[in-house]
Amino acid sequence: MSAMPESAVSQAADQTRLAFGLAVGELAERDDSVVAISADSVDLIGLRGLVEKHPERVVEAGIAEQNAMGIASGLATTGMRPYLCGYAPFITARSMEQLRNDVAYANQRVVIGAAASGVSLGVSGGTHHALEDLALMRALPNMTAIVPADAYQAWHAVWATREIDGPVYIRLGGRVAEPPVTARDAAFRVGRADCLKDGDDVAIIACGCMVVEALAAAEALAGQGVAARVLNMHTIKPLDGDAVLAAAAETRGIVSAEEHRVTGGLGGAVAELLARENPTRMRMVGMPDEFAIVGPTDKVREGYGLSKANIVKNCLELLG
């Protein structure tokens, strides 16, 4: 049962972070080795139900991400399946050495649920934005990095972790609505992009909250006679190289779209592959090499061009 059940849909249909916690709770019911670790994140990540039903299955580490990461590694060495939950900006950067050494280098089966990624905490400012987390994860050997496009995919992603023999990073949203863009029962395969719309003029490769914008952009482009392919690249590492290379070969250019700095994120991953295998004209929609301005999430995203309109603009520029 990897599709999100009705009981969870009613609580978390537009929140990847809550879908993650509810899925961990469901897994815990089926697998005695599943244990959640919270860095003071029980409500942030939808673990309250598990805490109330099976308190011993949620380890509260408090506001101490370095220790939480080490605990997760230690638990994993004993055969437990830890799901570590925290804020994306802190559970990556604050505990990066523990993540690198104790989890990635020691290659332990730790799953990290990183909520409030990107600029989802827009008004909180640069201390609370996570715009380099994917770059950090991409640079770690053994790591799998997943960016669900919606709550349904977040659920699938948690389920898929059962089959991954190593650390996994799952990037989740904050307290802003993430409308569903995938079918609840759509197939989900780690490392395999979803082609949500076919087209041979231009390819938009998007992840996370930019997938919905990419679909809207493709629709707008269709009205102008441009057939855009839309790939939901939900797995950043390992990247679906076949899908990227096919898009490069079968269209006239690629536009990446992500809520992350274009240095080191999805755009960087696509560009690195294309530079090696098939140099291709590209545009990158994402955050520039600066700390983001402070403001409401929707306005900050709009201000940096994380929007349908800017994806359309980039596609048209690319096609010239």
């Binding site: 080795s33 244990v35 011993e56 299955r57 380890v59 580490a61 408090g62 101490a64 370095q66 220790n67 939480a68 990461m69 080490g70 605990i71 997760a72 590694s73 230690g74 638990l75 994993a76 060495t77 004993t78 055969g79 437990m80 830890p82 050495e97 523990q98 050494n101 104790d102 280098y105 020691a106 290659n107």
Partner: protein
């Protein structure tokens, strides 16, 4: 408190001597390394592996084994020495320390049978030990977890996060041992960044603390036999040790935290240590 017979203590002291000789041997093979912190821990390691830890060297992944994490990973020469002596791998592997593609580099590698965690970055092991102790409790396996910490290592703040959580979680099956040799890479700990009052700090964090002479096998074994020191609390052994213990020119100096080990130095060291039984 149970006391251990002279024969037991003599056997353990002999294993500790073998650890020291093997440390020098491995670091001589390597050409250089962390003599000081490896030899200060030798008696503690010998007591752990030959008196306390419940292990199956022929089955290093036995799920119910006791866990030992060398958080001060730079003392890996002592860890691989005691693992070889305990039979986890052939003694001849010690001659391949620092080799190409080796599992016996300067710091422990989890891929080597008997090593529970890849350590070396300081301030990691105690958190990992908390996770191991929790895993044992959740699975009702009943194993015990021991983490060895360096003194300089305690300057890393992550240790204190781990100390807080271990007490909060009431991990009585978790023991930490501080190899308190008073010297770190660049000088005396008290001059670099002082730890005192160390025992008071740990007590304030909710640990049950005992101080001992980390080279007195009777005291070491008595402390291990008394674990846990209190119900529902993690235990801390503050073991007062001498850096470079056993070889006069290497003792109590930061110059032997890490140093080259040439042929002549090696011969002198072995002469001073003497032959094992």
């Amino acid at each position: 408190m149970p006391s251990n017979s002279e024969a037991v203590l003599k056997r353990l002291a002999n294993e500790a001597l073998r650890v020291r000789r093997n440390v020098w041997r491995a670091l001589h093979a390597a050409g250089a390394g962390h003599v000081g912190g490896s030899t200060s821990a030798a008696d503690l390691l010998a007591a752990l592996y030959f008196h306390y830890l419940n292990l199956r060297p022929e089955q290093p992944d036995w799920p119910d084994r006791d866990r030992f994490v060398l958080s001060k990973g730079h003392a890996n020469a002592a860890l691989v020495a005691v693992l070889a002596q305990a039979g986890f791998f052939p003694d001849s592997h010690l001659d391949e320390f620092y080799g190409y593609r080796t599992l016996m580099g300067m710091h422990p590698d989890i891929k080597l049978g008997g090593v529970e965690m890849s350590t070396g970055g300081l301030g990691h092991g105690l958190s990992v030990g908390v996770g191991m102790a929790l895993g044992g409790r959740l699975q009702k396996r009943g194993f015990r977890t021991v983490v060895m910490l360096g003194d300089g290592e305690l300057q890393e703040g992550s240790n204190w996060e781990a100390a807080m959580s271990a007490a909060h979680l009431k991990l009585a099956d978790l023991t930490a041992i501080v190899d308190y040799n008073k010297i770190q890479q660049s000088g005396h700990v008290q001059d670099v960044l002082g730890l005192e009052p160390l025992a008071d700090k740990w007590r304030a964090f909710g640990w049950s603390v005992r101080e001992l002479d980390g080279h007195d096998m009777a005291q070491i074994t008595a402390a291990l036999d008394a674990l846990p020191f209190a119900p529902d609390r993690p235990s801390l052994m503050i073991a007062h040790t001498v850096k470079g213990k056993g070889v006069s020119f290497a003792e109590d100096t930061h110059l032997w935290h890490q140093n080259t080990v040439g042929d002549e130095i090696y011969r002198k060291a072995l002469d001073e240590l003497g032959e094992p039984l």
